[in-house]
Symmetry: C4
Subunit: 123 residues, 4 copies
């Protein structure tokens, strides 16, 4: 039952966005933000990601999530163009099939780490 048509929404927004510079250097412990995307349906999801800034025009990326798979997209893994650190941003996901998006940040500017998460705003 769960996989029939795919669960979720097609438009998601993460209004918070800010990747600190500095911090720990290990890949999983360096400061980063992630969008966790679940596609429960039977068709691949093609997602247009638009990243907004406070003082310049938005930029676009394309993501794909296979059917019945999850994909955890690190924003510091977006390369064309890269998202600058220490910069306010927000992100908009528009998918061609229903998905669910959850946002996390890991911050390790100090010796310890801090975490935060929220389900994105879906519509």
């Amino acid at each position: 039952m769960a996989g029939a048509g795919g669960i979720g929404k097609r438009v998601w927004i993460i209004a918070e966005g800010w990747i600190p510079s500095g911090g720990l250097s290990d890949h999983t412990l360096m400061p980063h933000e992630t969008a966790c995307i679940l596609n429960t349906g039977n068709r691949e999801a093609t997602i247009e990601l638009t990243v907004f800034f406070s003082d310049r025009d938005p930029v676009r990326y394309e993501l794909r999530v296979p059917p019945r798979r999850t994909r955890h997209v690190r924003f510091d893994g977006l390369l064309d163009p890269p998202i600058p650190r220490d910069t306010d941003y927000s992100s908009l996901f528009v998918s061609d099939v229903p998905v669910v998006v959850q946002h996390t940040r890991l911050d390790s500017r100090r010796a310890e780490i801090a975490l935060m998460t929220t389900v994105a705003y879906g519509e």
Copy 2:
């Protein structure tokens, strides 16, 4: 009044999932993720939990929550099969009665702990 038919939804998704290896060894302080499930109604909830991965087929579990009780399910307590650490996953809960699901992670890879929580996506 509160317990009449049970409050909440029957389908819930936690798109984030990742249990770090390492960290503190005390049971309540070792890195873990939890799904907190509240059943306010007068009938036991039977919940099908499907865990999705990035590179392999989903796996299924069955959970039960008694009437008018809460159950905090640790993902590292799921044993058949166990969920591997350091691995991206997402989870889908389909209940036969309305419930509410909230997600938390405690991370203690460093000497201190970090926490995060969000209400799951409900539908």
Copy 3:
């Protein structure tokens, strides 16, 4: 405009609940959980709070929030009966007027503090 009829919902659930023992002893830094309740309307809110456990019957409390005021209710301030520490619980708020409920935990079992928050599930 904002204060006309009051914004929000009348039923809210926080499925996560767990107050650690130990930690720092300063009142604002000791481990605690809080329900932040905003009443934007012009009438006092009377709220029935039901706390659910995993292995015993729920208990009830009554809260009041004046018109156009916020109230941040610490669960360790509920005294009749007190909520035990190191114990899984969930909470249900049923208000006679619309309000908004947000949940936080501060954890200081280790030397540092960890925080988490989410808007509660509203219905």
Copy 4:
């Protein structure tokens, strides 16, 4: 497509509010709370922000977010009047166009930092 009419809602509430005194003194690391606001539409957003307290009347501010831009508003940057530290508050955003609001707190009263975030309650 994404920028046509603007995505989100016009009324948002953050019930939690509390800016600790003390902590680190660096601007990005001192304790603060932020409302991240995304305006995906083609018209500037004018937002009336009302801050509620537990024991006094609410105060008002006006914010603007340009079209297709994000704005991360620090509550300790509101100056007329300033929001006192160590004080419970909540906030209500009423916008003339749809926006999305997400809330974060960074706490550095101890040597390390703690973070929390949630999408605000939208209506």
